[in-house]
């Protein structure tokens, strides 16, 4: 086996060498410039050097030209992510953006990446614009709230729950099966919503999903009295929601943490906190989603999705069952949205109707579009970056801008006054996302990291217009 690998590497070596040389020049120039800027703005430190070394080691050698070389980058990125809590505190300060995101923000970023990957199945693969993805997120969150909190106080069901008094009222099921229940539930709802609506094409479908996305938060807000039933506890939302954990039995047997919230241990001289457990679990969920996305994309149904996206009429003529294929795309997208929603609810230990308004759907859509529809790396980048901006990036940027340019600034860093009072940058987050949407659509509609195929579609146009108009 190793002999084969070696022979393969030897055969591909010239190609590898050639490409590496090309990349070394390009990477060297970009990295050199970036390094100089960062070092001159006061970020010079060991962490900066290490960061650039790692980035260049992943980018410059043309790993993808070697047999199994793709895995080098994948494993490298996974390692960087897994180790993040260990080195996050030692990272350098960037100009404008400030410090690296905290692990807490990291959890949110991962959860939104997961949602973006789910939406990517619907929008990126199957080409169905879904403006109501928040509905699935909400359903996942409320499923977690129903099955892992004191909400249904008339019942008293316990199954593997952690951190809950066994006598406490309500349904308390361990978070792991709840994630699964939420995924199945939202998947089924996705099919139910999709079945009547997927007959529609293009913008009509977008509008119907928008309608569902608008109805959903209202149902959540008014759900404290649905035909006499209190389903959602209205505007107060449902909290607390039980934390994840493996329980004492599994803890004793395998050493897995019994309860995330009370977990506390030291590992390699690093205090592992509960938020870091949430981070790694979210990472596992994201990896699961990525794995499923890749396998789905290359499967029979994935190819059918792409065929539908490129030309619905031709796909139907080739024997692709349109309705069934689209419904599967919907169900798959909803499935991951449900898991992400349930996990997020458990992480925040609560769910509130105001988390699910229309703008969140657009926010997630923005992630998919910014990164590059249909491309997993692109969606991960777009999702991580926008979720970071939303959580702490915009606040940092606003702080930086106000410190340097606001008339109200008393900092010694102040350069000159452009605006008289501090600007609340996070207030304008959706305006900023709007600008991102418009700019990306106008100048790089295939996204930052496009999939080759999608790029060709945007450049050459696709036959998404029907061949003839039905006039009766």
């Amino acid at each position: 086996m190793f002999g084969n690998l070696l022979a393969g590497i030897r055969a591909r070596w010239p190609e590898f060498e050639h490409e590496t040389r090309r990349r070394a020049v390009r990477g060297g120039i970009v990295a050199g410039a970036a390094f100089l800027i960062l070092a001159l703005t006061g970020a010079a430190s060991l962490s900066l050097v290490v960061t650039f070394a790692v980035a260049l080691a992943l980018y410059v050698p043309a790993w993808n030209r070697l047999p199994r070389g793709r895995w080098v980058v994948v494993i490298g990125v996974i390692l960087i992510a897994v180790l993040y809590p260990f080195y996050q505190a030692n990272m350098f300060e960037m100009p404008l953006f400030g410090g690296f995101p905290s692990v807490d923000t990291g959890v949110t970023m991962l959860i939104f990446i997961m949602m973006a990957l789910g939406l990517n199945i619907v929008v990126g693969y199957a080409g169905l614009l879904d403006l109501g993805y928040v509905a699935f997120y909400a359903m996942g969150a409320y499923t977690a709230a129903w099955f892992a909190s004191q909400h249904f106080s008339g019942k008293n069901v316990h199954f593997g729950s952690v951190g809950v008094n066994p006598a406490a009222p309500g349904i308390h099921i361990s978070i792991w099966p709840v994630l699964f229940i939420a995924a199945i539930f939202t998947g089924v709802v996705g099919v139910i919503i999709g079945f009547p609506t997927l007959r529609l094409r293009g913008d009509y479908l977008a509008i119907v999903t928008l309608g569902f996305g608008e109805i959903m938060p209202q149902v959540a807000r008014n759900g404290d009295n649905l035909f006499g039933q209190n389903l959602t506890n209205g505007p107060q939302g449902i909290n607390p929601i039980d934390p994840p954990g493996f329980g004492d039995t599994l803890n004793n047997a395998t050493g897995l943490p019994a309860d995330y919230l009370t977990f506390n241990t030291t590992f390699l001289g690093h205090d592992v906190s509960s938020v870091e457990l949430f981070f790694w679990t979210a990472l596992v969920l994201v990896l699961f989603t990525v794995f499923c996305s890749v396998r789905l994309r290359d499967s029979r149904i994935g190819r059918a999705w792409i065929a539908i996206r490129e030309d619905e009429t031709a796909a139907a003529a080739m024997g692709v069952p349109l309705m069934r294929t689209k419904t599967w795309a919907y169900a798959a997208g909803a499935f991951f949205g449900g898991i992400a929603g349930a996990y997020y609810a458990s992480f925040k230990s609560g769910t509130f109707p105001d988390d699910f308004f229309f703008n969140i759907s657009i926010f997630i859509l923005c992630m998919v579009i910014l990164g590059g529809m249909g491309n997993i790396w692109g969606v991960i980048l777009g999702g991580g970056f926008l979720a970071y901006l939303n959580q702490e990036g915009l606040g940092n940027i606003g702080g930086w801008l106000n410190r340097h340019f606001s008339g109200a600034s008393t900092s010694s860093d102040k350069w000159f006054t452009i605006w008289p009072h501090d600007i609340d940058v996070p207030l304008y987050q959706f305006g900023i996302f709007g600008v991102i949407l418009v700019l990306v659509m106008l100048f790089k509609p295939e996204g930052l990291i496009p999939s080759e195929r999608r790029k060709a579609e945007f450049r050459e146009g696709v036959a998404d217009e029907p061949f003839y108009d039905v006039q009766h």
Binding site: R201, D203, V208, G431, M441, L442, F458, H472
Partner: protein, 348 residues
């Protein structure tokens, strides 16, 4: 083909399919519900009817803009509602800074007319600029691209409003006369409501005349039908599309004025809400169909008013939005051509 078969089957006797029956049953239930409410409290019913009609007229003006743009570009211009909101904000600024609150009617009316012209010009400019900057480049891109751009533009305009007037609603002084015109069953129909309605109907008529009778309207219809063929016939397609956005923007400006003066406050996210309602109205009436848009808007306005106000077996204002969007979904799924419109390829 399908219609002929249906006609043959219908001829011997009225035998509708189950779906139509279900729809008729639903309409019958609604009528029954309205009837019971009417009998229980007629004066309440009248006043809600008038409120609904007035709101519907405002929605109608916005819906006409959606319909015009959709008719020509097959693009749902999400930013339209926000253009409307910016018009309302301009009116709010003018009303306050000109001190219109205490003026006598001799001075008031010319000033209101002036405001109307300014608001229409303002919104028309914004709308044409949006088309020029954001939509024109995407004329030949996949359909999703301009739609996503429109959503982005909508967010941008909302934030322009947010920067301009802040997050809280801006109140507009009430300057329209509130005297009684006539009364039905003890409920007064006031001037401020009548003005809204009096404005919408002539605008609709003028618009239909424009589209059906004038040279420019002919160009618009030709462009809507087949852009390439229209260009070959010597129609300046870009100018025609710009003109359509201009008209739609002017309508949004007029609606913004009426809304601001009648509701007497504006808020940065109001445009998006009203825009969605108006879009629902346009779909309900049959998108691309101008009288349909106004009819749909009146229906939606009435649904909203009745649901907010009626006493017997009413879901209440908490559910208004859900009801309106349910109507949108049901219409799109079961009758995509709307009440009056023609069937479009999307809904086939």
């Amino acid at each position: 083909m399908a219609t002929e078969q249906a006609r043959i089957r219908v001829l011997p006797g009225f035998r509708p399919d189950p779906l139509t029956l279900l729809g008729l049953l639903f309409v019958a239930l609604v009528v029954f519900w309205l009837g019971v409410n009417f009998v229980k409290d007629p004066s309440d019913f009248y006043s809600l009817f008038l409120i609904g009609l007035t709101n519907g007229a405002v929605y109608g003006l916005v819906a006409l803009g959606y319909s015009l743009v959709y008719g020509i570009l097959e693009l749902i211009n999400f930013a339209h509602g926000d253009v409307f909101m910016l018009g309302g904000m301009l009116v709010a600024t003018m009303t306050t800074s000109w001190g219109l609150a205490g003026k006598s009617s001799g001075v008031l009316w010319p000033l209101i007319l002036l405001m109307l012209v300014i608001a229409m010009a303002f919104c028309a400019t914004i709308n044409t600029t949006i088309e020029l900057v954001a939509y024109r480049r995407l004329r030949n891109a996949p359909r999703l691209a301009p739609l996503i751009t429109a959503i982005g533009m909508s967010f941008i305009l909302q934030n322009v409003g947010l920067v301009w007037k802040g997050a809280r609603p801006t109140s507009v002084p009430s300057i329209l006369p509130t005297g009684e015109v006539f009364s039905v069953g003890g409920v007064a129909y006031t001037w401020n409501k009548l003005i809204v309605l009096l404005f919408t109907i002539p605008v609709l008529v003028a618009l239909i005349w424009l589209v059906q009778q004038t040279r420019q309207g002919k160009a618009m219809r030709a462009t809507a039908q087949d852009r390439e063929a229209a260009a070959m016939m010597g129609i300046n397609v870009n100018r025609t599309i710009s003109f359509t956005f201009l008209i739609a923007g002017a309508l949004a400006g007029a609606a913004g004025l009426l809304y601001a003066l009648y509701i007497t406050n504006v808020r940065f996210d109001e445009g998006f809400r009203v825009g969605l309602i108006a879009f629902t109205a346009a779909v309900l009436g049959g998108i691309g169909n101008l009288p349909g848009a106004v009819l749909g808007a009146l229906v939606i306005g009435l649904v909203e008013a009745f649901n907010n106000g009626l006493g017997w077996a009413t879901p209440g204002s908490d559910w208004t939005q859900s009801i309106i969007f349910s109507i949108l979904i049901l219409i799109l799924v079961f009758r995509p051509e709307g009440l009056l419109g023609e069937r479009t390829p999307e809904g086939a």
